[in-house]
Amino acid sequence: MSVWNDLLFGFSVALLPINLLAAASGAVIGTIVGVLPGLGPAGAIAVLLPITFGIDPSTALVLLAGIYYGSMYGGSITSILVKVPGEAASVVTTLDGYQMARQGRAGPALAIAAIGSWVAGTFGVIGITFLAPMLAKAALTFGPPEYLCLAALALLLLPQVTGGAIWKSYALVAVGVLIATIGQDPTGGLIRFAPDFIPPLRQGIDFVPVVMGLYGVAEVLRSAEEWIMSSGRPEHVTSTPKLAQLWPSREDLKRSAAPIGRGTVLGFLIGLLPGPGNIISTYISYGLEKKLSKHPEEFGKGAIEGVAGPESANNSATAGQLIPLLALGIPFSSITGLLLGGIMIHGIVPGPRLIVDHPHLFWGLIASMYIGNVMLLILNLPMVGLFAKLSLLTPRLLTPLVLLFCIVGAFSINNSLMDVWVLILSGCVGYLLQKAGYEPAPLVLGMIVGPMLEASLTQTGLIIEGNWLQLFSRPLTAIMLALMIAVLLWPIFTRAHNRSKKLA
């Protein structure tokens, strides 16, 4: 069994004191990056990249990768406690995680997020260990036509799952896609919808401040309203919960087990594909759990499955995203692109020969990820108690802090004041949407999938030479088109079915 020998060799590299230190630093920095909204793993890795120029490449990679997967642990913490997703990959976690915190169940939510992350992170590494080269090849069959269909399918299917009326969800998806068209055209480079009197619009609207506004600032406004309505008497403010329990009960664990398992597999497979897989996988996982649940009515009101599934998915997706990088040397996302840069500086080129030419780098990284995930679990579980107590702070203390973090975070993304305005505006919009009974998650989805849809539409048109019927002759696109038709026809079918039942 040569894999075991290789893995053992990997551990001999990863257990060197310097690499252990790198893994631990990566885990800690990653957690902090995850907690702070606005500062994402891409920014943190870019800042730290020059520091790694002077150290051994395997140590550098262990550190940088640690920041990446560590941030997926941290992102859930603020989602659950204050409804500000630390990362875009934790937007979905706010749906049920925050509700759990308001019911005094912040502890179980945080613990399940950490446990799910650990299971998924470890499984993801196992996946890399055994399947990397094979899966990487399979991912390449996805070309622009496949992405076009995938993006369309995602926009059609996913809004149905985040709750609220279907037509409201679709309306928000459409708005999200339209917002994403502001600024640079992803392939042509032309600039759209940026009038001369608002020059900052040229850079487009980043989805991170929108996410922070729709969730964080909107929640600040909501609690401010609650406070004003109770005419300033804090005893009337209902939002300070009591800690019902700190650790997940046996029932919680039982309910979370299957979602963690499904989220893990799902996230890993989606992570293999180019694009923001760690974000998209959380939406799909949430939808899947809601569909499979025996009590879908609890979703959005504090169902632990809604935390367990997505939080697992984003971690295994992170591992999945490393496969194309390590096995083919192709970065499918901006973060893996940074990791590629970090390795290349040392004259090492990832690719099919990486495993043969630089085994200490490849197996060292993999072994360090097993270790890093355990470190993150050890780091995060004891903090559950501390963080859970934060949810008990009175809103009067917490909300100004949240607002401050959101503003600083929004500014730090591109060092642009425009992002702060976007944040504030999205906050107001998010507040109004809440009042009108809209769940904003589909809007974020539209903004993330929009550019992918637009780029692949342009490319597909050129590649298939304008012959759109070709989409039916490619196996993968044909399957996805069939699924889309099924999704569209399903409501009509069920309605007819119900009617015939009634008649009979």
């Binding site: 392939t187 480079g189 040229r202």
Partner: protein, 328 residues
Amino acid sequence: MRSYDRLRRSFMLGAVLAVAAAFALSACSNQSEYPSKVVKIIVPFGPGGPSDLNARMIAEHSKTEFPKGIVVTNAPGGSATTGTFQVVSAEPDGYTWLYGGTAELASALHYIPAPYTRDDYQLVLKVGNMPTVLLVKKDPRWSNLKEFVEYARNNPGTVKVGTPGDASVNRLVGEMFAETAGIKLVMVPFSGNAAVIPGVLGGHVQAGLLNAPDAKAHAKEGADILALAVFAKQRVAGIPDVPTATEQGFDVTGTVSHYIAVPKATPKKVVNVIHDRLKKVLADPAYLKAEEAVAFQVEYQDAAVARKELDRWYEVAGNIYKRLGMKK
């Protein structure tokens, strides 16, 4: 009362004089002591790309020349016009630099409406080149550039070539090559260099127009990618096995070049300090070695020579965009 007034007035006068003197002094010392604070390099692209990486390498190797430090800041979007505009409208004190490329400084201005012109920035020096390369998936139908051209000639309109975007220099080089070779290539724009490679490997496009560092990264022994040609006068040091297009009978050269630029009104004295110190960095063996590892071709040019080169690209690009009907 009056004496008190006079006292107060003279006191005020003294204070004003003292403050003025302090300002004058500090202004003097600032002038002579540039750089006295942290320099900011604005990269008009997101983190992870070649511009970002190179800017960070320069910052890393400039620690002795700029002891207060250099921070690299990403200002992506708007086809690199956002970050460039941030620099041209920044305080012209020498503490804000642009790490700019051929497209946003010259060639793309024919096509992208930008809020600045070529007169709004002052070049400090040229850093180097990333010559365009033509990459293909390994295929018995074309093992060299001649065979590739032959295939394209016999199958007109079916050869698709991925580019990093319609505004990229790579696309212009591709159009120049197609014209010289007398073939028709369908240019498929992707969103950036990294996105092109999976398209080539998956066979969704037949070739990709990328940069020398991409060839270094992907066209390796044992890999499925082959670099057919580099569009440079001579072979590039980091990728010595890749033949030039000229060698293979097609006299086409083209490169993305990188420059350091500052706001137009930056004092000449300060610009000279930046120029002299960066020139030293560009000759530092450690820096050169690091850049060769990623196949970035370091090439120093002073501002006047660099300006001429950019002017020539602007003219070439104008003609191509006009021919393609893409000129704004």
